[in-house]
């Protein structure tokens, strides 16, 4: 396929042209209360073609990969680029070249999910969900399996000729208990790049089920907090969520160019000097956002977005790197063959410090320990609000009562500025999630435990 695509783009009239074959094989199983909620096997295969002409883009895709269909699709992309360029006000010379990737990249897969039949996967999901529902106080359960296998060939007129073979797996368990009609949920989820053994290396499905049950049981007796600005210790999952949602999106170059809060702030102090925030597609071979090459055929590199509190870099694709005079570091990603690459994060995290996680708590007179990220929202000005699954009150240096229905909000950069201690531990803990920005993307995030100031809110204040 790689050769076929190289030949196809040879004679293109574009200033830059790229062809990307992408075959995605996806399996999904969801069982809830003993019933199959969803089960599917989906194959998506095709070629996406992108052409740059006088600074404007044309894109076309086709599910047919015969020579004639590919030629027609390329012509469509060229036509769209030409027409778009006539309307574009500002033209550009070309794109940044970046570290051009060549060869073949394969995910480190320890026991591929392909070695297991759908029946085995269905049984695992069924059994875990059944186990959850048997426990005291648990009214209902849900369990989900999701696997994605990607094969890609990417060629472009800047010399990238690269293949990628990737496997990403996720497992999710939910247990619900009931308190006076209010449903209390306990969730455990995990997601990796890799195989079956990588996914369940730390915890088996049974153990995850038990933990979800315990959370749903423990939260039954939890109170809700009163709203206040206070000192909080964030666990690695919360750190990952804030790094990605509240900060990461504001440094994506397309958002920067459209006026996000970080525009024009390179070399300015935007966080406590204890903060080094990084995006790196190759940070960990099993992180959910592992991405050694991007869809513009650029090899992924470590990008220090914030170094010791100073904003250093934005996340760019070839085009925005040219405009902002930065380097593309592997952040141009397309979700499916029919999507064009856009600027995305991969694995976004804060570097560890030198405190022990216990020390962070011991030094607090009054505050909260937050763990388990739930849904929320963030804006281009970095203001955010997220739900927190479990919040423990900290009093005189000790973790005390458990609270539920908690939210955390504030300005992402104010939170980063308020960080006064960063722990030495580290983990990625967002690998089971997706990020949505016109298209979906598998991402991961994490970091160490850290201590900062934030606004804590409760659903029913002061219960």
């Amino acid at each position: 396929m790689k050769d076929k695509l190289s030949k196809l783009i040879e004679k293109s009239v574009g200033d830059y042209v790229e062809a990307r074959f992408h075959e995605r094989d996806e399996k999904f199983i969801e069982v809830s209360n003993g019933e199959v909620e969803d089960v599917r096997s989906k194959l998506l295969s095709g070629v996406g073609l992108r052409v740059l002409k006088n600074g404007a883009w044309g894109f076309s895709s086709t599910s047919k990969t015969d020579k004639k269909s590919l030629k027609t699709a390329l012509k469509e992309a060229e036509k769209s680029a030409k027409i778009s360029s006539e309307a574009k006000k500002e033209s550009m010379e070309g794109l940044k070249e970046g570290n051009i990737a060549e060869g073949r990249y394969e995910a480190a897969v320890n026991d591929s999910a392909k070695n297991y039949s759908m029946e085995e996967k269905m049984n695992m999901v069924k059994d875990t969900e059944k186990m959850v529902r048997k426990e005291d106080e648990i009214r209902s359960g849900k369990c989900r399996w999701h696997e994605i296998h990607d094969e890609k060939s990417i060629v472009n007129s800047y010399g990238s000729e690269v293949e990628l073979s990737d496997e990403k797996l996720e497992f999710y368990v939910l247990a619900y208990s009931l308190d006076n009609g209010e449903r209390i949920s306990g969730v455990e989820s995990t997601g990796v790049t890799g195989g079956w053994k990588d996914l369940f290396e730390e915890e088996s499905p049974e153990k995850m089920g038990s933990k979800a049950v315990k959370t749903a049981q423990d939260l039954l007796d939890a109170k809700t907090p009163k709203g206040e600005r206070t000192t909080v210790v964030l666990n690695p999952e919360m750190v990952g969520l804030i790094s990605h949602e509240a900060i990461g999106h504001t440094v994506e170059a397309d958002f920067v160019l459209s006026g996000s809060i970080t525009k024009g702030k390179i070399d300015e102090k935007v966080a406590s000097d204890k903060v080094t925030l990084v995006d790196d597609g190759k940070a960990d071979p099993h992180a959910g956002g592992w991405l050694p090459i991007d869809d513009e055929g650029i090899e992924a590199k470590r990008t220090e977005i914030i170094k010791n509190g100073i904003l250093k870099n934005y996340l760019c694709d070839r085009e925005t790197a040219e405009i902002l005079n930065m380097k593309p570091m592997g952040n141009a990603r397309a979700y499916e063959y029919s999507d064009e690459p856009i600027v995305r994060m991969s694995n976004t995290f804060i570097e560890p410090g030198d405190y022990s996680p216990e020390e962070l708590i011991e030094e607090i007179d009054e505050g909260y320990y937050l763990e388990g990220a739930q849904g929320g929202q963030a804006d281009a000005n970095a203001e955010f609000m997220f739900g927190v699954e479990k919040a423990y009150k900290i009093e005189n240096g000790e973790k005390k009562d458990l609270f539920r229905g908690v939210s955390i909000s504030g300005s992402g950069f104010e939170v980063l500025k308020s960080i006064d201690a960063v722990a030495e531990d580290f983990r990625f803990d967002m690998g089971s999630g997706f990020c949505g920005k016109r298209q979906m993307a598998k991402v991961d995030g994490g970091g160490p435990h850290l201590r900062c100031e934030a606004i804590i809110g409760g659903k029913q204040e002061g219960k």
Binding site: V39, E90, S407, I455, G457
Partner: protein, 450 residues
């Protein structure tokens, strides 16, 4: 018989031969022309042809499903085998079924003959119009991103019970996102989506203008304050709240799983009697029109809430069988997924007052242009941030506010509706279907600010 129905029949036959008790083939073919706007400029033209086939089989009351993005038989046949193998390993459920044919009344007005001549250059003109509408209104508006999409979709379904249906529609949808920037001041984002079936109804310039107007008007925002007062939800703030707080809980699957506050409430008063809602797949004012659903069942208009009383849930064949009822025809989704449940057009009956009158009657409150936050799908607890909000005092719009959060419960809020506007808007829903809604005024809501 059309080519697509003939393919469907061949595939159904093949699935039966391979061991399926029953089989359903859902097919879609889309021709898409799209223009992307980014940072005040045309970014890209896109041209795509997409195909999709969803295969659902039933064996011994067990369901299997597989999908592929091609009408090519060589690609589809292995997926039939896979759907069968999935069904064999699945869980037996006597409510699983492939439904029988029912009389379909074909609706008109959803396909514009001119759409087949709609070219990428026409799409580009509409991208330019969005930008023009915004910039002509006020140059301080920054168009962060926008999309104009024209699509012609041909959908067809064939099953082993004798359903053979096909329908074509054209749709033009457009959306924009941006903010106003004045010196160092940056307003909140505003987001708008709109769509129509006919080329001559497209108003991309209007969408751009509205975006610019809302964001520029929210410049100079002052810090909000903590109080309990009236919320006037503008039409564009409502689709997401109503989707999360009303449309999802009406899904019979959620009701049957105990995940809906509306469980057991049919025939009971669940909202203020000012509220009347119907689901109407036939009104061309809405963007969720269709003659048949994802399972080939008819979708006649239904009452959802009548003067505050809950009348119906949304059913597909599975939930209807479980409840001992007939499907309301709300099976939703595309060819890549099993039929789910979703609305067609969620139509809220307008009130009698003008928006101005609704404002005049407010002692103290906030006009909410956009809501960014969450509604818990089960409890209905709502929390989020008001975007582009304006403080109202003694019947007058005073000034824009920022950093204002609202919290409450959607079901309690729906019981405190004190007025609806005459004016309504029609919007496409993000997850499929459409919504037609007036402004909704709600009393006793808690506003907080840091």
């Amino acid at each position: 018989m059309s080519e697509i129905l003939s393919l469907g029949n061949t595939l159904v036959k093949r699935a039966k031969e391979k061991g399926a008790d029953e089989a359903e083939i859902y097919m879609e073919n889309e021709k898409i022309k799209e223009v992307l706007v980014e940072n005040d400029q045309i970014k890209m033209g896109k041209s795509q042809v997409k195909e999709g086939v969803g295969i659902r089989v039933l064996i011994d009351d067990k369901i299997g499903f597989a999908a592929v993005n091609s009408f090519d038989k060589d690609s589809i046949l292995p997926k039939i085998d896979e759907a069968i193998s999935i069904a064999r390993s699945s869980i037996k459920d006597e409510n699983n079924l492939i439904p029988s044919p029912k009389k379909i009344e074909k609706i008109s007005g959803i396909y514009d003959e001119e759409a087949k001549n709609f070219d990428i250059s026409d799409a580009l003109d509409h991208g330019k119009n969005m930008l023009k509408g915004a910039k002509d209104y006020d140059d301080r508006f920054q168009f962060s991103s926008g999309t104009f999409t024209s699509e012609i979709t041909n959908r067809a379904i064939v099953n082993s019970k004798g359903i053979e249906e096909e329908e074509k529609f054209s749709k033009f949808t457009y959306d924009g996102l941006g903010m106003a920037v004045d010196g160092y001041e940056v307003s909140s984002f505003d987001v708008k989506r709109d769509g129509v079936y006919h080329i001559d109804e497209i108003d991309t310039e209007g969408l751009g203008r509205e975006l610019a107007k809302n964001t520029v008007n929210s410049l100079g925002a002052k810090k909000g304050e903590k109080f309990v007062g009236t919320a006037l939800f503008a039409t564009d703030s409502l689709p997401i709240i109503l989707y999360m707080g009303m449309i999802r809980p009406l899904n019979a699957n959620r009701v049957q799983k105990g995940q809906s506050k509306f469980e057991g409430k049919v025939g009971e008063k669940i909202t203020s009697s000012r509220l009347t809602v119907r689901d109407d797949s036939t009104t061309n004012e809405g963007l969720g029109c269709r003659s048949f659903d994802r399972e080939g069942q008819p979708t006649p208009p239904i009452d959802v809430i009548k003067e505050g009383e809950l009348k119906n849930y949304y059913h597909n064949s599975y939930t209807a069988k479980k409840a001992g009822k007939v499907s309301t025809g709300h099976a939703s989704g595309d060819a890549s997924e099993m039929p789910g449940i979703g609305p067609t057009n969620f139509v809220i009956e307008p009130g009698k007052k003008t928006v101005e009158r609704l404002i005049e009657e407010i002692e103290k409150g906030i006009l909410i242009n956009r809501f960014s936050g969450n509604v818990d799908p089960v409890s209905g607890d709502l929390s989020g941030v008001v975007k582009g909000g304006h403080l109202i005092e003694n019947g007058e719009k005073k000034y824009p506010v920022r950093e204002t959060m609202i919290s409450g419960n959607i079901y309690e809020m729906l019981n405190k509706i004190s007025g609806l506007s005459k004016k309504v808007i029609s919007r496409p829903l993000f997850f499929g279907g459409g919504i037609i809604t007036p402004y909704i005024r709600i009393e006793d809501l808690s506003f907080t600010s840091e």
